[in-house]
């Protein structure tokens, strides 16, 4: 019986139906379905299917984002119901991302966040025009495993260095990995300012995040 409820969660994500995902989550709980199974076999499965379609160019960013939204909304229903004794497969890690300044064209900037979510990370997106102070305050508050920052000008690239130095001063630097991105950045620049990784685009950012958290390498 639980299978039908789990199936309808997968379907809601695959069909980009946010409201259906929420009501399917509620119905699953009422029917006594294990919330962990609902998340792992229902929602996560749906997101994986959608991620594959994205990779195959069947769907694009908007569909991906709605599917992620459906998953997130259903999670808010399912998560509180998780029995403390039951084991939830941990997310791959918490990633906090932000852009130091806006681009001339802004519309695609949510790409990295959506891609990381589909890959299984928990994402906190600070948006654009994030100041050095805000990055640091948010690291304290959110306690991410990875901080991702991007910049578009060599002048604002310097502020990445300020963030890293600020984290060091606050004693936070060892607690997070720092990944940088954006057109003018390079792995050389990442090394120079003491970042842990560099990802030029959304796909690379996912790879770098996985590598940093799950196949630890020595810090350069």
């Amino acid at each position: 019986m639980g299978n039908d409820f789990i199936q309808s969660l997968t379907e809601a994500v695959v069909n980009y139906e946010v409201e259906d995902a929420v009501s399917a989550a509620k119905r699953a709980l009422e029917a006594g379905v294990d919330p962990v199974a609902a998340i792992e076999e229902g929602l996560a499965k749906g997101v994986r299917i959608v991620g594959d379609k994205f990779g195959a160019e069947e769907i694009f960013l908007p569909e991906l984002m709605v599917a992620v939204e459906a998953m997130k909304q259903a999670m808010t229903i399912l998560k509180p119901a998780i029995n403390k004794s039951s084991r939830v497969e941990k997310s791959l890690g918490r990633v906090m991302i932000g852009t130091i300044e806006g681009d001339i064209h802004d519309i695609g900037k949510s790409m990295v966040g959506a891609m990381l979510t589909v890959a299984g990370f928990e994402v906190v997106d600070l948006g654009t025009d994030v100041s050095v102070e805000r990055f640091i305050a948010k690291v304290k508050e959110v306690e991410p495993d990875i901080v991702g920052m991007s910049a578009l000008m060599t002048t604002t690239m310097l502020r990445m260095k300020d963030v890293i130095e600020g984290l060091r001063k606050e004693g936070l630097r060892e607690k997070v990995k720092v990944v940088i991105g954006g057109v003018p950045t390079s792995s050389e620049w990442a090394k120079e300012i003491g970042a842990d990784g560099h990802g030029w685009n959304a796909m690379e950012a996912v790879k770098v995040a996985k590598r940093l958290l799950h196949q630890p390498e020595e810090r350069s």
Binding site: P62, M65, V66, E69, E101, I104, I107, M111, M153
Partner: protein
């Protein structure tokens, strides 16, 4: 200009210009026309828009800078980042629905709103000065990009393309005549060419079928209402082995299309050569990794390649990178002049 009329065979060589942003940090310094002042002061705007023509021989003068002029007209609170050189952005997104936009009751009221009068005055100054020399180009940020980046939360806007397409239609339907009016006011002020920037319709953003349903009808209408010649510009990847949006862009009716380096020039050229309405293709030299970074030989080689692959207007893929050395722009201009001289 003849290229835009489809008369490539009658010209001696290709134009060495850029039909999108031609501002750089060096230019701001050279003419004391810094952002954000140059966004609001027509004299400084004109100075900055003409700077690369003066300093590097670029064959166009272009205003405005950034993409927020149109959004401001509809009530977006623009953040100019006083005391720093950053692309203008907005302090917050003002609209959830089309009814949240401040839409003036009469279409021609937009001519008095926001920075539209500033841009028009800058165009008049440029026209007086460069009339016989180089084309005065003004660009317009088109509705899908303008609304989706500066009026509605971008993530929300993209999601609603799927979950609530009627809302997107409503935004596009209500605003399109106003965007056309802004472009025509630039035209009447003296702009020789209007560049229509619908930046975010690539495969990086939406499915071509959503371009067809949500963007194309309005873009077509916009192009039709703006007086020619018109250059349509879009960034991002417009072609893949499975899908492309280039042919759909050419159906919108602009005389020319310009693309950036994420789209292969030879594929675009093949599609544009079959297009009925669009007969010139521009781009797709990387503004960052070629023209900004150089060196000289790489710039020359890239111009040569762009021409060889079918670019009628070998130019940067998008705005010049803000920190581009003037010398690199000069190299680009000379390379286009030299390498296309024997085409005629």
């Amino acid at each position: 200009m003849d290229i835009l009329r489809g008369k490539k065979k009658q010209i001696d060589r290709l134009p060495a210009f850029n039909s999108v942003g031609t501002y750089t940090a060096d230019c701001m310094k050279a003419f004391d026309a810094y952002w954000p002042e140059a966004h609001r002061n027509p004299v400084k705007m004109a100075k900055l828009g003409a700077a690369l023509h003066r300093l590097a021989g670029l064959e166009s003068v272009v205003v405005p800078f950034g993409l927020t002029v149109e959004a401001e007209v509809f009530g977006a609170p623009v953040n100019f980042f006083e005391d720093s050189v950053k692309w203008p952005s907005v302090k917050k997104f003002i609209a959830k629905e089309a009814s949240d936009l401040k839409v003036p009751s009469r279409v021609d009221d937009v001519r008095q709103l926001g920075r539209v009068p500033v841009v028009c005055e800058a165009i008049r100054i440029l026209k007086r000065e460069f009339e016989a020399e180089v084309p005065v180009i003004a660009y317009l940020c088109c509705p899908f990009e303008s609304i989706g980046s500066f009026l509605v939360d971008s993530a929300d806007f993209l999601k609603r393309c799927i979950s609530e397409p009627e809302a997107i239609h409503e935004f596009m339907r209500v605003t399109t005549p106003y965007y056309a009016e802004i472009a025509n006011s630039f035209k009447e002020a003296g702009a020789d060419i209007i560049t229509l920037r619908e930046e975010a319709v690539s495969l990086n953003n939406i499915h071509p079928k959503h371009f067809d349903s949500l963007v194309k009808p309005y873009l077509k209408k916009l192009v039709k209402e703006v007086k020619p010649p018109r250059i349509l510009h879009s960034c991002g990847q417009l072609w893949s082995p499975n899908l492309e949006v280039i042919s759909k862009l050419t159906e919108c009716g602009a005389e020319a299309l310009t693309i950036e380096e994420s789209t292969p020039m030879e594929k675009a050229a093949e599609i544009v050569s079959k297009a009925e309405l669009t007969h010139a293709l521009g781009g797709n030299i990387s503004a960052y990794s070629v023209i900004h970074q150089g060196p000289k030989e790489k710039i020359q080689k890239s111009v040569e390649l762009a021409i060889a692959k079918g670019s009628d207007m070998p130019m940067p893929g998008c705005d010049f990178w803000l920190e581009t050395p003037t010398e690199h722009v000069r190299t680009f201009v000379e390379a286009v002049k030299d390498l296309s001289a024997d085409l005629g």
